[in-house]
Symmetry: C2
Subunit: 148 residues, 2 copies
DNA sequence: TCAGTTGTAAGCATAAATATTACAACTGAC
DNA sequence: GTCAGTTGTAATATTTATGCTTACAACTGA
């Protein structure tokens, strides 16, 4: 399988909750746990990662999370990088010890690395093109459909 | 972490070996095991996936693998899809049971799915733009550097 | 002071990847 | 026809990451 972990969609879900409920309610890990149906400790860990990346603020003691920057200045790429703690940020996992005595084995990184990077860049460029302002707009769209 | 599994880079490595050694040697799972330093049973499993996708032919009994189509008609996307057996082909893993009683939880898929798809499409488009002909060209480039 | 909350550690359960052993079935050369 | 070499596949083990859960110290605002 090997998909991008659900921490990413969880993090986006968290921001959608902050957008939607932030003014009315205190958005705590317990609140988010109920909306996502994910354990509050996991939520707190993700909140910590997002906080560490400067994307949101978490109020210790009193509780509650809020965005740390204007929404159009937070991209999906920021979120992806905050929660997807990949060594060196590399999307593709390589087999570890290709044979240095084989002409192909010894050169496989020279042959492949630039191509893999191109692919990863294409994905990250698209991630960077989506902001939390877009998310909020669409969230409101669907929530209003409910109300009607 | 959650990277794309090394089966993909392994599969590309396999094709690089076929390109380079296919005329001179019989490219068996044992041969490939030595070049990649990966267990021959794993190699055979990947060979089976590539064969199943119609990308190469494996000679039973006698042994050996070879490309099943002209190299410029095999893309990295073909290989990716052959070996990355993701349910529904989705790059992003979603938290399973968002709360249907929460306005955000009940709509999170409507809000997010199109955006995730855009990101995945960007990546797959780049995967599709690289063919095994490109791979062979670069492989020869680096191997010739060795010889000089 | 105290109820509610965050941050974090520790242990467990689950899932996927990869390694490994084993062996039946197959093929081509002799 | 035999046989060495190979593929296909099953079964098991190991490793690694994820996510769940319990627990609790530290913190904050009322």
């Amino acid at each position: 399988m090997m998909q991008i972990s659900s921490r990413f969609t969880l993090a986006v879900h968290i921001f959608a909750c902050i957008d939607t409920f932030g003014n009315e309610y205190k958005v705590t890990s317990d609140f988010l746990s109920k909306s996502t149906n994910v354990n509050p400790v996991i939520i707190r860990k993700i909140l910590g990662q997002l906080k560490g990346a400067g994307l949101l603020k978490v109020t210790r003691g009193a509780g509650g999370a809020a965005a740390a920057r204007p929404l159009h200045e937070i991209t999906f790429l920021d979120i992806y990088r905050a929660v997807e703690c990949i060594e060196g940020g590399e999307l593709f996992h390589f087999h570890e010890n290709p044979n240095p005595a084989c002409p192909v084995g010894m050169n496989i990184h020279f042959i492949l690395d630039d191509k893999l990077l191109r692919i990863q860049n294409a994905m990250e460029k698209e991630l960077a093109s989506i902001t939390l302002a877009d998310l909020k707009k669409d969230t409101e769209k669907y929530l209003n459909q409910e109300t009607m």
